[in-house]
């Protein structure tokens, strides 16, 4: 009841403040999500390198190079003193074995003080969401005041390993003491030992590739090929518009050593329904519906955000962009519900925040596959699914498309696995500012059948 009172009073307060002091701005009379005893944590700034198709301009770099570029971009944009942060956390998925704690390698190279600890987290496509929420946790617990979180993914080069048998032989070779032992080990190598192990975007637990699972998911929800192509086309079209209009302010320019300055995402390619319709199914052949054109592509890129307690940000003279409010992680069956994270996460986080779907002004959902987004929308629109799998009385309800991923999404902007989360949060903050909304919602699915959702509140302008 204490909370209720607080909500009511703060609702009245904000209503009054909006109505009375800013009557000309198109605002909604909504309460703030601040709670007594819970620290206000803010997003001060968010940046990212341009997201590029893997194998293009970034091809010769290493992951920490990209992460370093994002960190430098953040420093540059915020003017943050290099010793002013308490901690650095990065998310990544495919690890370069030489830089397994890529956060530390990138931070050192970006010129941060070597007194700032850094660690790397991994949670598939929501790795940088995990980096951000870890930062929120450190600040909420009073351990830190300012944390840099980010994410990086570099698909132009991935670790390809020798076969297990070859590795075993090579490791035994290290221990061999006599020439005879060495020769007999070398002699034991067979042609088959030389075939390498390639990493695949496949579930380890089910051995199913993500595209295959997405195709089955789309089929389970009766998502047609046309629906998927239309959604993909929408993503590319909106991304192009946003890029042309200069709305993608989070993108920094990056001088790639030995190459030109890169300042734009290069995967945005609005096509036509006819052209997209010509493509063959990429995973479930030949009758599948997921194609190269309605899937996100392999991307190189890095992102970074500066997260602070509100007092610290204000004390340092920053004007925060948004509050990072409630968040949830969810997980479900990695085989048949691999990519349904948003459906599970959305109602849960809304409930935590005491909001309903209609309260949200800005939606940013991670677009792994057009079929996956459409399946999630259909799941949220289904009473049967809500009752059977979410334990609800009725459906979750779907986000209105006029508020949904308006500046493009992972399908068009690209999806560097570890870096996408920060892009989503920063985009919500920027859209809230631009569109004058108060609440934004981020939701994403991830390998392992996991998912994440977060509510973001605009910082009063």
């Amino acid at each position: 009841s204490k909370y209720v009172f607080f909500y009511v009073s703060s609702w009245i307060y904000t209503s009054i403040s909006y109505c009375c002091y800013f009557p000309s701005v198109q605002t909604k009379s909504k309460k703030t999500l601040a709670r007594p005893g819970v620290k206000n944590i803010v997003l001060v700034e968010g940046v990212r390198t341009p997201f590029l198709l893997s194998g293009t301009t970034y091809a010769d770099l290493m992951p920490h190079d990209l992460a370093r570029a994002a960190l430098q971009g953040l420093l540059h944009r915020t003017g943050l003193p290099k010793d002013a942060v308490d901690y650095i956390i990065y998310g990544t998925v495919i690890q370069e074995v030489k830089t397994s704690n890529v956060a530390r390698e990138a931070a050192l190279g970006a010129g941060f003080s070597d007194k700032i600890p850094a660690h790397t987290v991994t949670m598939a496509c929501i790795s940088s969401n995990q980096a951000m929420t870890s930062a929120v946790g450190l600040i909420a617990a009073g351990q830190c005041d300012a944390v840099v979180a980010g994410g990086v993914e570099f698909m132009s080069d991935v670790p390809i390993r020798h076969s297990r048998k070859m590795r075993k032989t090579m490791l035994s070779l290290n221990k061999a003491k006599t020439l005879g032992q060495r020769l007999s080990l070398i002699g034991s190598i067979r042609l088959a030992h030389l075939s390498p192990e390639l990493p695949a975007v496949a579930e380890f637990s089910t051995a199913e590739t993500m595209g295959h699972s997405a195709d089955r998911l789309a089929a389970a929800f009766g998502v047609s090929r046309v629906e998927q192509d239309e959604f993909a086309l929408r993503s590319h079209t909106l991304a192009k518009k946003a890029q042309d209009a200069g709305l993608l302010q989070d993108v920094i320019s990056f001088k790639v050593p030995g190459r030109d300055i890169v300042s734009k995402d290069n995967g945005i390619r609005p096509s036509s329904m006819e052209q997209m319709g010509k493509l063959k199914a990429a995973f479930v052949k030949p009758h599948g519906t997921v194609t190269a054109a309605n899937s996100s592509f392999l991307t190189d890129g890095a992102s970074a955000v500066l997260v602070m307690s509100e007092e610290k940000a204000l004390a340092m003279g920053y004007k925060p962009k948004a509050y990072l409010r409630d968040f949830v992680y969810v997980s479900q069956d990695p085989k048949d519900q691999l990519l349904l994270g948003p459906t599970y996460g959305t109602p849960k986080v809304l409930e935590r925040a005491g909001l309903s779907m209609s309260d949200i002004d800005v939606f940013e959902f991670h677009e792994a596959f057009a079929g996956q987004i459409m399946a999630n929308l259909k799941a949220m629109d289904s009473d049967w699914f809500g009752q059977t799998y979410l334990g609800r009385k009725s459906k979750v309800g779907t986000p209105p498309m006029e508020k949904f991923n308006l500046w493009g999404g992972s399908l068009s902007l690209g999806h560097p696995f570890g870096a996408t989360g920060c892009r989503l949060v920063t985009t919500v903050a920027h859209r809230l500012q631009k569109e004058g909304g108060q609440y934004g919602l981020v939701a994403a699915c991830a390998a392992g059948g996991q998912g994440h959702a977060m509510v973001i509140e605009a910082y009063p302008q």
């Binding site: 089910t206 089929a219 389970a220 069956d333 085989k335 048949d336």
Partner: protein, 717 residues
């Protein structure tokens, strides 16, 4: 054929086939099993037997199918058809056994078979392309496979996984099962399969999808070429025939008839082949072997039900004492059923061996791709291995599989009762000790029951449950429920030395020892028993069971039943045990076992023992056939005596127990059906002859004599 294409969706590893045919909208349909609906220009023909969980090829099904197909062909708006079942997980399970049983003679069955053939022939020759959309179990139809692999399927009736079927060319396209969407996974998968099948059917009509792969592999071309030589074909028939004879000993007529039909079809053309098939099918259906196997089928179904009702409490935690072969085997069949399984042993070495056995069982399934490594690991997370009784207060049932010694059993039951909760059931996996003797040490004899598993537990289907007069009905219901969960076929028998199964086996083994003492070689003994239809020869069986166990049982039951259980000298077995010849587990028994070697040689050292206890055979009762009947008649007589004494609930459970637990020849259908088929009088006559030489071991029991006196008395109606 205009083209039958098959699409398969595999569900949880089992192959189910769904056929669907298309139906023109008709308001006056009286059909119940087959219906159709026209979607665009594709007829979707749906099969659904409303009276059963599975679709079978019943008369009704065949008639309606023919009607529907005729309508489909007559309908100008239809270009192609899709055959699909409305039952998730079952296309057509096979012919209707009851329908075959209902026939009075071979001619009626032949007629049924011909009607079935006609239906299939019609579908095969359809002027409009038909796509068979299969989801779940589907009876084999080796349509376009090469002869050798077709033989394999027809003869063994083995199951083929969907991906394998695709590789073999049995199906053209696989459709993955779907997870939950806007409907349940099962419903949506069927819809999806239908949608894909319709697209295929349209594609075939539009010539976008080629009907047959133009390019055969080099291998298959070569295969067809070679097959065009009569000499080669004859060689194949001969090889297959030889293999069948070796495996079936000629006791099962069907495989030989199948070869005959294929041969007729290949050499004299399809018409002659179909005729041979239907005629042979008719004859086979009315053989005693058919009656025996159908009887076993019905018996098995009956023994998969819990006639004691639902127990008050579900067993959620099962503790097993002793991680030996049996204990670990019981853990193996329990842990993958979602039951928390505790495996307790007294030594770390024993426990480690047992846990490894459970792991290996699951890992072998992983290697065969029946389960994923994650399923394996997650199943194993239900297993706890330990050396003490900690946590036993949570156990709903404890099964002991410790050494067969009444004193040890008594010690164990007291230890267990000191720690478990009042509702916990104590089950003993003893193979011969009377349960009431074990229960004598219990404070709560109503909670004590016998659960006799057979080795290897994961392979042997039978579970013999033994109740004493004090065992409560709920305890029995709970034991049966656990057994059913473990996938067992269950017989519930009364208490007594050796219960039912061990009691039947003991006299046969005693006779086997006598046969050895009379100078018959173990290999010859094995040949005689397998020649009668036992899957494992008597000497090998003794090695498998363990000579020490056999000696133990022979001595115990000998004490309990006296001279009737005599015959061979128990000292033979005891001497073998003293010399360390305990059977397969010790590397030596009747045979010598060497790891990696498949061929086993007779243990030369038992020659001396047998020489020492040599008996002189009586030529009047020592022909091969007499030796076989000496072995079998003692088994059968003891079984009938068990029924007479009320140890057995009925002849059906007696047959199931003997076949599934002891390997009594399946083609004979069990001891009781064997008596019915052979005639009790004939058996009694033989036994009297043996009785004259050996005495009371061959005295027929009263019930057998009653049946011999009145030939209208049958165990199975």
């Amino acid at each position: 054929m205009a083209g039958v294409r098959a699409l398969g969706a595999s569900l949880s590893g089992s192959d189910t086939i769904i056929l669907s045919l298309f139906i023109f909208p008709s308001l006056f349909l009286a059909r119940t099993h087959v219906n159709y609906e026209v979607k665009g220009d594709v007829a979707v023909v749906r099969i659904n037997d409303p009276t059963s969980k599975v679709n079978t090829l019943s008369v009704q099904m065949q008639t309606e199918m023919a009607e529907v197909m005729n309508e489909v062909w007559a309908n100008n708006a239809v270009q192609s058809a899709v055959l699909i079942s409305s039952k998730p997980g079952c296309f057509i399970a096979g012919a209707d056994i009851n329908m075959i049983q209902a026939c009075n003679n071979a001619e009626e069955v032949t007629k049924l078979s011909q009607e079935g053939q006609k239906m299939f022939e019609k579908i095969e020759k359809s002027p409009k392309p038909i796509v068979a959309a299969i989801n779940g179990s589907c009876l084999g139809g080796g349509l376009e496979v090469g002869l050798p692999s077709a033989f394999d399927m027809m003869l063994t009736g083995r199951n083929i996984r969907a991906d394998k079927a695709k590789k073999m060319g049995l199906v053209d396209q696989l459709v993955d099962p779907l997870g939950p969407g806007l409907k349940s996974p099962e419903e949506r998968t069927i819809d999806y399969l239908e949608e894909v099948a319709i697209e295929y059917a349209k594609g075939i009509v539009n010539k976008k999808i080629p009907l047959r792969k133009e390019k055969g592999t080099m291998q298959s071309k070569l295969c067809y070429y070679i097959m065009s030589f009569e000499l080669v074909r004859n060689q194949i028939y001969k090889t297959v025939h030889g293999k069948v004879m070796k495996q079936s000993k000629g006791l099962y007529p069907a495989p030989l008839k199948i070869i005959e039909c294929v041969k007729t079809g290949v050499e004299q053309g399809p018409t002659a082949g179909y005729l041979a098939e239907s005629q042979n099918f008719g004859q086979l259906a009315k053989t005693p072997e058919s009656a025996a196997l159908i009887g076993l089928y019905h018996g098995q179904v009956a023994c998969k039900k819990n006639r004691f009702g639902t127990p008050q409490r579900e067993v959620k935690t099962l503790a097993i004492l002793g991680a030996g072969l049996m204990g670990a085997g019981i853990a193996q069949v329990t842990v993958d059923k979602g039951v928390h399984t505790v495996l307790k042993d007294t030594t770390l070495t024993g426990l480690s061996r047992g846990e490894q056995q459970v792991y290996k069982g699951l890992n072998d399934k992983t290697k065969k791709k029946n389960i994923t490594s994650f399923q394996r690991d997650s199943i194993l997370s239900n297993l706890t291995g330990q050396l003490d009784y900690s946590g036993f207060e949570n156990a709903d049932m404890v099964i002991e599989a410790v050494f067969e010694d009444i004193n040890i059993k008594h010690a164990v039951i007291k230890e267990v009762e000191a720690v478990v909760s009042p509702h916990c059931i104590f089950a003993s996996n003893t193979s011969a000790l009377p349960i009431k003797d074990i229960a004598a040490a219990s404070k709560r004899p109503d909670k004590v029951i016998g659960m006799h598993y057979f080795s290897p537990v994961d392979k042997m289907q039978l579970l013999e449950i033994i109740t004493t007069e004090q065992t409560s009905k709920d305890t029995t219901a709970s034991a049966v429920a656990v057994g059913l969960k473990q996938g067992k076929v269950i017989i519930v028998v009364g208490d007594g030395p050796g219960f039912y199964t061990t009691r039947c086996l003991a006299p046969m083994l005693a006779e086997a020892v006598r046969v050895l003492q009379e100078g018959t070689d173990p290999k010859k003994l094995d040949a005689l028993t397998t020649g009668f239809g036992f899957p494992v020869g008597a000497a090998t069986l003794a090695d498998e069971v363990g000579i020490d166990v056999a000696a133990h049982v022979a001595e115990d039951l000998g004490k309990a039943f006296g001279s009737r259980f005599g015959g061979g000298n128990v000292e033979v077995l005891k001497t073998m045990v003293d010399l360390g010849f305990k059977g397969r587990k010790s590397g030596k028994g009747c045979y010598v076992y060497q790891p990696g070697l498949k061929v086993k040689e007779v243990n030369p050292e038992i020659g001396e023992i047998l020489e020492k206890y040599k008996m002189t055979p009586n030529p009047a009762v020592s022909s091969d056939s007499d030796v076989q009947y000496r072995l079998v008649s003692r088994f059968v007589n003891e079984a009938v005596l068990c029924l007479q004494e009320g140890i057995l609930n009925g002849p059906l459970e007696g047959d199931i127990g003997a076949v599934f637990g002891l390997g009594f020849p399946p083609c004979l259908g069990g001891p009781f059906r064997f008596v019915d088929t052979l005639g009790a009088d004939k058996l009694v006559e033989k036994m009297r002859r043996f009785e004259a030489v050996y005495g009371n071991q061959f005295t027929p029991c009263q019930l057998l004599l009653d049946h011999a006196k009145d030939s209208s008395k049958k165990f199975h109606k």
